[in-house]
Amino acid sequence: MTSHAAEHHDEHHHGPEKGLKRWLFATNHKDIGTMYLVFALAMFFVGGAMAFVIRAELFQPGLQFVDPGFFNQMTTMHALFMIFGGVMPAFVGLANWMIPLQVGAPDMALPRMNNWSFWILPFAFTMLFSTLFMDGGAPAGGWTLYPPLVLQTGNAFPFVILSVHMMGISSIMGSINVIVTIMNMRAPGMTMLKMPLFTWTWLITAYLLILAMPVLAAAVTMLLTDHYAATSFFNAAGGGDPVMFQHIFWFFGHPEVYIMILPAFGVISEIIPTFARKKLFGYSAMVYATASIAFLSFIVWAHHMFTVGMPLSGELFFMFATMLIAVPTGVKVFNWVSTMWRGSMTFETPMLFAVAFVFLFTIGGFSGLMLAIVPADFQYHDTYFVVAHFHYVLVPGAVFGIMAGVYYWLPKWSGNMYNEKLGKLHFWLSTIFVNVTFFPQHFLGLAGMPRRIPDYATQFADFNLISSIGAFVFGLSQLLFVYIIWQCVRGGTKATDEVWEGSHGLEWTLPSPAPYHSFELPPTVR
């Protein structure tokens, strides 16, 4: 595919700054990507600790450890940290590292904005975390911030909203950078339909972010003025409507769901062809399917709120539109399976995670299809069935996508191979216990256990016990992931430039580790 490796590096350019300045004033896409990934990993553990509190309290019926109010703070903060602190920054980190390498650019287009968009995040999350120690505690109304409940938040209220604004600004700047880089800095010959799938899915994700995040900003600003400026956007007594908040929130919230999964689709579409030693089946169908999903994601938002008492016509429209999403999603799964078909597969850790992704994401997709059926949703809504559904698409979906990507590209980043044996152990522990954690939650929801409750009727005890055991082991297994990365960065078998036998794309034409400044002269793509 390429003719030009980067043999011109290291004569006339300098390396990184020394010490703290390298990170504080970073403009290099690799440094910023690394910071994003490390930050996301830290946030996964903070959010994970909160999940630990949740599962410990739910281990058996009765209240053993925490006050119900604090439990609600934990569920709310767990979601905010995992979504905005974990999954989203992790994908931005992968984008920063990989998009310039994949399109043959020397760096991201807007390096200083890149620095800013990262450095906002630690402040946003420090502020969000500090709300735990404020009068009235952290926000406890759920990450969806529904009024009027969220207006009962204590002193934390304005801080939560400011931190959401900061996360939004960071995401929007990151997205602009991705779009500008992809549109302007592709190597000669790399037409749009020659771009690697990861770059493609991120391009579409970036547009989703730019369209969705300002909507969230508007929604939370209206909450702020309702609280402090006596407006009545969401207050029926003043002519407003609490349900309007839900419409606005989910107009952001549903695209947000795809913001968290489309880049994972991209990662999986890179990995499966590599380890099947066969080109991605139906490349253009994959691109069009991604674009269709992105479009549909803007016209299905009200399926998150079927029980608010919408008109029948509204319920029918959102049911049909939601069911339609199954079609392009199915196309993606069928194309991955066809890529594997009659390939010559090996199952290194990235491939194991990718295959588990296809299986388990599909299970999450099935429960999503079930949730689309409005009459059935009247029963599923706000139960553990929903919790099981979105954790299936987010944990063995988005998070497995991130972990697969890290294992896949880590040798290119560090120049060393990770420990394959430990990688496989990490995979099996994660895959088994993610199912032990979340599969029984389907049963709990169907049997009638609502979500967001700290204590439950005794008929739900058995499955909660199993789910908690699964969660503890799954959580602890992730320490192994940290160890594997640490070990790999410190040393190990030197990686070749190609790293994987079946690797394909510009990133594998560079040396391992990738030089500080890559592609100073653009490679040519035929």
Binding site: G62, L63, P68, G69, G136, A140, G142, Y146, P148, Q152, T153, G154, N155, H227, A230, A236, D241, V243, R277, K279, F281, T307, G309, L312, E315, M319, F320, V327, G330, V331, F334, V337, M340, W341, R342, G343, S344, M345, V355, V358, T362, L369, V374, P375, A376, F378, Q379, H381, D382, L425, W428, F443, A447, G448, D455, T458, Q459, F460, A461, D462
Partner: protein, 411 residues
Amino acid sequence: MYENTTRQMMKWVAGLVATIAMLPTLAAWELNMPKGITDSSQEIYGLHMLIFYVCVWIGVVVFSVMIYSIIKHRKSVHPEPATFTHSNVAEVTWTAVPVIILIVMAYPAAKTLVKLEDSSASDLTIQVTGYQWNWHYEYPEEGISFYSRLSQEANIARQVNSGIDPTSVPNYLRDVDNPMVVPVGKKIRLLLTAADVIHAWWVPELTGKRDAIPGFVNSLWFKANRTGTFRGQCAELCGRDHGFMPIVVKVLSEADYAAWVRDRADTGMTAAVTTAATDSAADAGAAALDPPVAVAAAASTSGGDAAPDMTALILKGESVYAQHCVACHQANGQGLPPAFPALTAGAITTGPIDGHINIILNGSPGTAMIAFGALLSDADIAAVVTYERNALGNSVGDMAAPADVAALRGE
């Protein structure tokens, strides 16, 4: 190496399965949605199973292909990868076939939905209002209205580290003091709203859930095919005690229902507000552990309008407080600041008495404090104001008379 890891894993799985097998059986293992006792709930169940089997069959096909490929197309058995890269026929097929399946699925779903949304021609209407954290039921035609709260036994057992085994409490967290009562075979229409935040009313065996939204009225209907007691709970996060506002519906035969209506009328569980002794003790949460002497006395004065003496007012006020105020302002009056301020040494509870009566009558806009004017009688408000000013650590020394409340109501 790989073999070893796998074997290790198998041991783990075996261990886990053994653990699960040895679990004490606390209750039947419920795996699926209940079929329920209404035509609606059974239709929903049917749809649920239909879409479930559709998913299972698609899953079986897709996963079989994948598993076959993983076994047969690995490098060790299939060293030469094929080179095909696309097929328009395949893409069109796996776009069209799911579309057809979805259309087949959408038709019965839409049909059921139309039925579920038709709450016209109902036989009985009940107004349901969600509060933080209890339900209020009003039967406008019968003139019956009452609050429905978590049972006393469960409320005590559910306190953090209560030391009480939840399995020893019958219907733990799924029992209430006053269940909703409806006749069998009649179309019951619920008009749902809320006083403070959004709640959701849900009894799975009757029908799906529906949100109760402050300032708006939603409707939901069901028609029970047999008698019995059916349980559910609030399904929309509504604050601290969201997990502790159960719903119980008793479906009675028409004759029993008529008897219940008569009975309610006799015991005064009508129109205004009830403060039966049993309810208030149940409501006090931790306070219920205290000797309920005061409460027994309060019951006898319930509804009295004669010039009350202060002791009687405080006793009555305590039971009103235990029913309506304790969830937020807490049994000791310390509240849960800043959302729910302390009443002990509070600016309002120790300030001018008119201001105190006013905030209870009209609420405080923009906060969790709702207007109790429509919910409580003048006598109840006078009692609870007097109680709050002379108990909970306060000793202002003045008292409110029902006439004072009536006067402020007029303004």
